[in-house]
């Protein structure tokens, strides 16, 4: 019988911050693909869509952050502590990234006077790429400063969040590119390519996850508690299903299946990309929740006392609402440019699209 308030405070962060970190990472990851198109011509058809994925994502992410603040009106205060607060630096980076991202997007909207300046576009892509990487790393560094929470405090967390951000960004870019209006089928090849790339990224991601859990588990008593809650404790279902199955086994399995058939179907890319994106969100949520609930030597039976903040109806409504907003932005763009064929329409007409066959056909 134990009665404690010590360390059983609900995790300060929940759905909103998980969403914010997810969108921040995904936005950075998507921008990397946009920048890739600037440097490697074969990916250029994706640049536009990746940029359109990236910028709304970071803006909605910032809305999540604002929604999470207790006193959002005072949010300008965030820039006060440039000496030591990671959050201050992160906020500066994210704001700059958003501005540069918007600027980069403007090149694809054609109606700005500078829209045809490719050199400037490339320059902004370079600046954006640097800021995108910084954003992805920051989403992990944010958690890294907490000395009492070994799962967050690990140097692997920024790496993990960066890699996961990239995988989510790629996945979102793939989804939007598939749904997006196109002039030619020239996006098919780069979509296939980045999707293959994503398989390697998620493998890397899971190597980082495994190393993180292993190092934290052996690192300290408190760390072993956090890891236990993930592997076998109250978060095990989320971990094994939401992260491992959805984010690793399913996409890789599908990939392997396609490879075995020597044919990669567009619908399969769509499915596995959705799974990867969802698992990216799950990862943030899991790390936030399990990392906060640590045991402490004095309270050795703490594991049983771990409480996680259970989201309120308000949290669900706002989260779903903001994601719906993001979806609406994406979908709105697609609808507006609907006159063109989309891969989706082709999908609807032809059923499966076997990518390799189609590409061969096009080449002929």
């Amino acid at each position: 019988m134990t009665d404690t308030l010590f360390f059983t405070e609900l995790s300060p962060w929940g759905l909103f911050i998980a969403s914010y970190l997810f969108l921040g990472g995904a936005s950075g990851g998507a921008f990397c693909i946009a920048a890739l198109g600037e440097f490697k011509k074969e990916y250029q058809p994706l640049s536009k869509w990746a940029a359109l994925v990236s910028v709304p994502a970071i803006i909605v992410g910032l809305l999540f952050l604002l929604a999470d603040l207790g006193e959002p009106i005072r949010s300008i205060n965030v820039f006060a502590n440039v000496e030591s607060s990671v959050m201050t630096w992160g906020s500066i980076i994210i704001v700059l990234f958003t501005l540069v991202g918007l600027f980069y997007v403007s090149f694809w909207l054609r109606f700005f006077p500078w829209s045809n300046n490719t050199r400037l576009r490339k320059l902004s892509a370079e600046a954006g790429l640097a800021l995108a990487l910084a954003t992805m790393i920051y989403t992990g560094l944010l958690l890294g400063v907490a000395p009492g929470r070994p799962l967050w405090n690990s140097p692997l967390i920024p790496v993990l969040f960066a890699v996961s951000g990239l995988s989510s960004g790629i996945a979102l870019t793939a989804i939007i590119s598939i749904l997006a209006p196109i002039k030619k089928l020239e996006t098919l090849h780069p979509i296939d390519q980045i999707h293959k790339l994503d398989s390697y990224v998620i493998i890397a991601e899971f190597i980082v996850v495994a190393s993180l859990l292993a190092s934290v588990f052996v690192g300290s008593f408190t760390g072993s508690g956090s890891v236990t809650t993930i592997l076998t404790g109250q978060f095990s279902l989320v971990f094994w299903f939401g992260l491992v199955t959805l984010g690793l086994i399913f996409p890789l399995g599908l990939q392997a299946y396609s490879r075995a058939k020597k044919n990669n179907f567009l619908s399969e890319i769509l499915m596995s990309s959705f799974a990867i994106a969802i698992s990216g969100f799950v990862l943030r949520f899991l790390i936030i929740s399990a990392g906060y609930s640590i045991p402490i030597p004095y309270v050795a039976n703490f594991f049983d006392l771990v409480q996680t903040s259970s989201p309120t109806l308000y949290d669900y409504v706002v989260t779903i609402g903001l994601f719906a907003l993001l979806g609406a932005v994406y979908f709105g763009g697609i609808v507006i440019l609907r006159s063109e064929n989309t891969l989706l329409q082709m999908l609807r007409k032809n059923g499966h699209i076997a990518i390799e066959k189609t590409i061969k056909k096009i080449k002929k």
Binding site: M1, D3, F221, P297, Y298, A300, N301, D304, L305
Partner: protein, 758 residues
Amino acid sequence: MVTMSRRRFIEIAAASAALAGVTIGLAKPSFLITSHPSAESKPTSLKNNDPATTAIPLYDSILYTSCHECDQECAEVAYLRNNVLMKLDGNPNDPESDGRLCPKGQSAIMDLYNPTRLKVPVVRSNPSKGINVDPKWTQVSWDDAFTLIASKFQNIISQYGPQAIAGHSQLQLGNLQSFFSAIGSPNTFQCGSTCYYSWMATQLAVLGNDFSQQDLISGTTKYVILFSNVVETIENPNARQVMEAQAGGAKIVVFDPRMSASAAKADLWVPIIPGTDLAAVLALINVIITENLYDSDFVNNYTSGFEQLSSFIQQYTPEWAAPITGVSAATLRGIAVEFASQQPSVALFRRGPAKSRGQYWKFVHAWAILNSLVGSIDVRGTVTATRSASLASVAPPQSPPQSYSAAIDSREKLLPTPGNVWDGGLESTGTSDSFAESILNGPYPIKAVIAAGANWISSFPNAASWEDALSDIFVLVLDYQMTDTAWFADVILPVPTFLERDEIASPMYAIQPTVYARQAVVPPLYDTMTEIEIYHQIASKLGIEQYLNPYGSEVLDAQLAPLGITFDQLKVQGIFQVQQNFAPVRNFQTPSGKIELYSTNFKKAGFDPLPSWTASPIQPTNDYPMYFVTFNEATNCLSHSAWNPWLSELFDNSLWINTTTAASLGIKDGDLVNVESPYGKISVTASVTEKIRPDTVAMAHGRGVQNSGTDSWARRGVSDNLLIRTATIQDHISWYQSKDEPFGTAKFLDFTVSVSRA
């Protein structure tokens, strides 16, 4: 509530060991406390001129008063800002409270400003009564209320006689008694039979005085046996005494089936079988006598009956006690030897005897013998008699007519106290646990009752019988919160809290004669009247006000006159102490003038003159296999703490059940379980723990408010009283006649229970 597995225990043990090995290092944080604050001295210059903290004085008015959250009545100091009470602390002028308060004392602000307080006089407009029935309260003027009450009382007195009105005061019994002698009814009661009566009466019989004031002194006291739980119930300052004595080298031994906070802090916890304390004490006495460890000077000079005791005690060896108590003979022997050889040593008990199993009066007798054998009676560092300040008594301007006193003296009391058989000067408080039953089936009709701060439905067992008893009679309730009893009232008159009234208080225990000022720290918040004012108003309507004790500031001054101070002077420091040297009381008010180890008082009344052991006839059975004990937490006093949100938030009255037992019943921590006794059934959350014997379950007393006239947090928890039997007057009389129980003690816990998953 969580259990700890063995593996985790090893982890905590290892972690603690690692922790203990940590060297602190001498690098100190840059922590600069600029002043050395004390509660009283305000520093003349503040080096820390933090504008955020020094701009506004935290408190602009400081008043001394006295706590009344429990009967210890600690002197306290009230800090106000803009006439709002912001903080209470102990009065540092008071050596007893030492500037400290327990959680109950600290929480009194929330009683004072509690918006669910009773604020105006109300009468019910729905004649049907029930705990789930809305009384449809209607506000009335004080005068209308008094007119209504007076006419009810007048009718009842003329039709049934004054004895048809009964009353119980937990506020100030003297006021109620003054009113009842004015109307000519003998039927005033207090909670004695469910609490202190047996303990007081046995001491008077054996010791001729009350020598149960705990007086542990750090560095002096060497050995303490607690049959009580002073540390957990934290009757400030008793808990501090125990902890300081322990720090000063005293060994603390606790007998308790449950690991109370006292046991958790003790040097030795003896998880004894419930209700067998007497057997353990007899074994301790046996060892002390047979091994010649007693203080022969004290025994020869101040006690009588040692020879009878010596031969009587031969049968009660530790080996005899071991199977009865569940404590090994070696342990009992060891405790006895240490207790007798490390002087001064003392055994203490403090718990309401009625809450224990078996013949508690005999335990008190044995306890008195145990302390007497080591000379620990009225010796500093052990137990002493309270040194009371002598106040002038208050008398009514006119004595009630002879016929009234005759009626009172004719002993036609509704609830006689069987044990008041010798004139020990002890006020008879009546077997109040039979009150409801006596209203329903008594020898004569009771038509009106007054509950002054008394909450029978929550405080006494068998709430259902109380609900029946109160349904058909006129009920007048004086209280400041909506108790379940008030829910059955016909008229509720709001009284001020102790923070809104002027009176003289005295500590329950003090080594120097002491009085405290209890002053109104804020003017009454609502349209309230004090208890004595209310009686005066009713009496004035009845034309008998001249028979009541007077009240007011002159009366307070007159009471204090023997001390040479006025009430205004008392308020300055909040405390007045008569400094006198400690002179042990050695004239014992017994027939022989000595401590009667062999009690001639008991002998004369036909009771056992020595505390012989009789096993309780009620033992665990297949149907009810578990012992049940209750306890009082630091955050609870009687039943009135439920209304205090700060206390209710911390209070937990889940059922303690041993891990092994719980596993065998398939009960997990936090499960809802049913607890069933022969008298009732409750559903309560299980708290699976290693802190209790496997054959015993326990729960904290003091919750389970049912009426909807208060805020929801007040209704949290379950009442242990729903499991407890009610004794009838016939029971009390038959216990008395069979020489089982002389004092009308309630025998609350003489039952066992069964526990199952809900």
